[in-house]
C-alpha cells in the first residue's frame, strides 16, 4: 500500500508543500480571484500580473495565499514556477498540458520538458478525489488570467467564484 501512497506523495510534492515558492499576495496585479473547493473547503486567493513586452503578453507575476492539503499547496507552488516569466501563450499551453495530465486517470505520460516538477503530479491523477485539489490553483490562475486580459492595466477586486 505504501507504494500507492508514495506514488501520490512524491518527494517533490512534499518539498513544495513544505517550502512553497512565490507564496504571498503581491502588487501590482490586474486581477485577483478567490476559488474554493466546495467539497473540502480548500481555498486559494490568487493574483495575476501581466505585462506587455515586445508585442507579446508575459506573465510577470502570480502571487497567492492558499489554505489546503499538501497536494493543493504544492500544486500552487509548481504552477507559479512554471508560468512566471513565460509568454502568456506558452503558459496557457503548460496549463493545458497539466489539465490533460490530471484528467487522464493515470493513463497520460507527462512530458518533463514542459511540466518540470509538475510531472510529480502524475500519481495524483489516479486518485479522482485529489484531482480537484491539484487543479484548484490552476483553475484560479486561468480564471484570473482571463479577467486580467479583459481589464488589463486596472487592478481589480473580483467576486468569489468557484
Amino acid at each position: 500500500m505504501s507504494t500507492e501512497l508514495d506514488a501520490l506523495y512524491q518527494e517533490i510534492i512534499l518539498d513544495h508543500y513544505k517550502n512553497p515558492h512565490h507564496q504571498g499576495l503581491r502588487d501590482p496585479f490586474e486581477a485577483e480571484v478567490h476559488h474554493v473547493n466546495p467539497t473540502c473547503g480548500d481555498e486559494v486567493t490568487l493574483r495575476v500580473h501581466l505585462a506587455e513586452s515586445e508585442g507579446t503578453t508575459v506573465v510577470e507575476d502570480v502571487s497567492y495565499d492558499a489554505v489546503g492539503c499538501s497536494i493543493s499547496q504544492a500544486s500552487a507552488s509548481v504552477l507559479t514556477d512554471l508560468v512566471i516569466g513565460k509568454p502568456l501563450d506558452e503558459a496557457l499551453a503548460v496549463h493545458q498540458e497539466f489539465l490533460t495530465l490530471m484528467q487522464g486517470k493515470g493513463t497520460v505520460e507527462p512530458d518533463e520538458e514542459v511540466l518540470e516538477d509538475g510531472i510529480a503530479f502524475a500519481g495524483v491523477a489516479k486518485f479522482p478525489a485529489r484531482v480537484k485539489c491539484a487543479l484548484l490553483s490552476w483553475m484560479a490562475w486561468k480564471d484570473a488570467t482571463a479577467r486580467a486580459g479583459t481589464t488589463a492595466g486596472t487592478p481589480t477586486e473580483e467576486a468569489t467564484h468557484g
Binding site: V36, G41, R130
Partner: protein, 418 residues
C-alpha cells in the same frame, strides 16, 4: 406481428416480476406501465451490488468506497446526458421524480430576478391535458406572484387545439409548459412547433417528458425544450429518482431551490454562495443508489434501442386499439390512430364504472389503472369523471392484449350487459 421487439420472450425473462402469479394462481398481465414500469434484473442487481459493495456518500467522501460511489453516481449522470443527447453533463440535475423536477422550475421562477422573473401581467401557458404535476406547480406560481395561468384547450379527438396559438402565446408569456406525450389521452404533442412560437416571444419552454422518455428517442438539443423533466420509475429505473435537464443559460439564471449540503460554494452564518450547476440544485445527499439504478436502466434501454422500443410500442398500441374496438360500448378517449399516440389508452365502457372494470380485470390478473390518472381536467374536458387505462411497454405481448380484450368482454357479461 411487425414491429415487435426481436426476441420478446427473452426480453421478458429480464423482468422477474413478469413470472408472478396472483390470487387464484392467475398469471400477471401487467398493463399499468404508464403508472410505473417494471424493472429488469440488471437494474436490481446493479443496485444490490452498489449497496453490498460500494455504498458510501459521494463527493464529500474521499476514501476508496467514496471514490467508487462517486464514480458510479457521476457515471449515471453521463449516461443520462448521453441518453438525452444533452450538450453538457452539467445540465443534468437529479431530482426525486418528475414532479420535483417540474416544481423545481416553478419554484425557483418564483424567486427569479431579471428576465425570468414572473409577476403581475405575466402569463404562464400550459395545456388542458397536463398531469396534475404539471398543473399545480404553475397554479401555485401564478397565484403567488399575481401572474395569469392560461392553457391550450383540446379538440374532440384529443389533440391540442392550436388554433389560438399565436394569441395564447404572446409577449406577456414567460413560460410555456406542456407534456410531450399525454399520460391519459396518449397524444403526442408537437413540442417543436409550440416551442418555436414560445421562443419567438421570448418565453421559456418546459417539457414534461415523463411519458416520452420511456417510449420515444428523445433528443433534448433538437426538441425545442429549454427545460425537460422525466422520472426514473417509468423507464425501467427505480423510484426515488427523476431528472431535470436544462439549458445551461437558463439554469444559471435560476436561483437555488433547496439549500444545504453539496449545493454551496461557501457558507458563513451571515450568508452563503452557491455552487455551479448541476450541484446548485442538488441539496443534501442525493438519491445515490437510485441514480445508479437509473443509469443501468437507461443503458438497458439504449441496448434495446429506443427506435426498437418505440416500434414495439406502436405495434402493440395498434393491436390494442383494434382489440378494444371489438368490445361493445367501449369508447377510447384520445386519438384512435397508433401513429399519433403513445401506449397509454384510456377508455370508457357504457354501463360499467372504471373501478368495477379494473376490479374484474384484476380478478383475471390483468392490471390496469382506473380513475382520473392525475389528469382531472382532461377528464372533465371529455365530460367524464374517470376512465380505465391500459398501458403497455417494451415487455408487453400481443397475447397480453388478447387477455385484456377477453377480460373486457367478460366484464360486460359479469355486469350483465349482454
Amino acid at each position: 406481428m411487425d414491429g415487435l421487439l426481436p426476441e420478446l420472450e427473452v426480453v421478458r425473462k429480464d423482468f422477474p416480476i413478469l413470472e408472478r402469479t396472483l390470487a387464484g394462481g392467475v398469471p400477471l398481465v401487467y398493463l399499468d406501465s404508464a403508472n410505473t414500469s417494471q424493472k429488469p434484473q440488471v437494474v436490481i442487481d446493479t443496485m444490490v451490488d452498489h449497496l453490498e459493495r460500494h455504498n458510501a456518500n459521494i463527493a464529500r467522501a474521499m476514501h476508496q468506497l467514496g471514490a467508487e460511489s462517486t464514480e458510479a453516481f457521476e457515471n449515471a449522470r453521463d449516461t443520462v446526458a448521453a441518453f438525452l443527447n444533452a450538450p453538457s453533463r452539467d445540465e443534468v440535475i437529479f431530482t426525486k421524480n418528475a414532479s420535483e423536477a417540474l416544481n423545481l422550475v416553478a419554484n425557483t421562477l418564483a424567486w427569479a430576478t431579471g428576465d425570468l422573473a414572473v409577476g403581475p401581467g405575466d402569463e404562464v401557458v400550459i395545456t388542458e391535458m397536463e398531469h396534475h404535476s404539471n398543473i399545480v406547480p404553475w397554479q401555485l406560481l401564478t397565484e403567488r406572484k399575481g401572474a395569469t395561468l392560461r392553457w391550450f384547450g383540446l379538440t374532440d379527438d384529443g389533440h391540442l387545439d392550436l388554433t389560438n396559438l399565436d394569441e395564447l402565446v404572446n409577449e406577456r408569456t414567460k413560460v410555456v409548459s406542456l407534456t410531450w406525450v399525454s399520460n391519459m389521452l396518449g397524444t403526442v404533442n408537437p413540442v417543436a412547433r409550440i416551442a418555436a412560437r414560445a421562443h419567438e416571444v421570448g418565453a421559456i419552454v418546459v417539457v414534461d417528458a415523463s411519458q416520452a422518455v420511456p417510449q420515444l428517442p428523445v433528443d433534448v438539443a433538437a426538441s425545442g425544450a429549454d427545460l425537460l423533466a422525466f422520472t426514473g420509475h417509468k423507464c425501467v429505473g427505480p423510484t426515488g429518482i427523476g431528472v431535470l435537464w436544462g439549458r445551461r443559460e437558463v439554469l444559471d439564471q435560476l436561483p437555488p431551490f433547496l439549500g444545504g449540503g453539496e449545493m454551496i460554494e461557501t457558507v458563513r452564518m451571515e450568508g452563503s454562495t452557491y455552487a455551479g450547476i448541476p450541484h446548485k440544485f442538488e441539496a443534501g445527499t442525493p438519491p445515490i443508489v437510485e441514480a445508479v439504478g437509473l443509469g443501468a436502466a437507461l443503458e438497458y434501454l439504449g441496448h434495446l434501442g429506443m427506435d426498437a422500443v418505440h416500434a414495439h410500442e406502436q405495434a402493440i398500441t395498434a393491436y390494442a386499439l383494434e382489440g378494444l374496438a371489438t368490445v361493445p360500448g367501449l369508447t377510447v378517449l384520445g386519438p384512435t390512430v397508433a401513429a399519433e399516440r403513445g401506449g397509454a389508452i384510456s377508455f370508457e365502457i357504457d354501463g360499467v364504472h372504471p373501478h368495477d372494470v379494473a376490479q374484474v380485470l384484476d380478478s383475471r390478473g390483468v392490471a390496469v389503472r382506473a380513475g382520473h390518472h392525475c389528469a382531472k381536467p382532461a377528464h372533465a374536458r371529455f365530460g367524464v369523471q374517470s376512465s380505465t387505462r391500459m398501458s403497455s411497454y417494451l415487455y408487453t405481448t400481443p397475447g397480453e392484449i388478447d387477455a385484456l380484450v377477453e377480460a373486457l368482454h367478460y366484464t360486460r357479461s359479469y355486469f350483465k350487459l349482454g
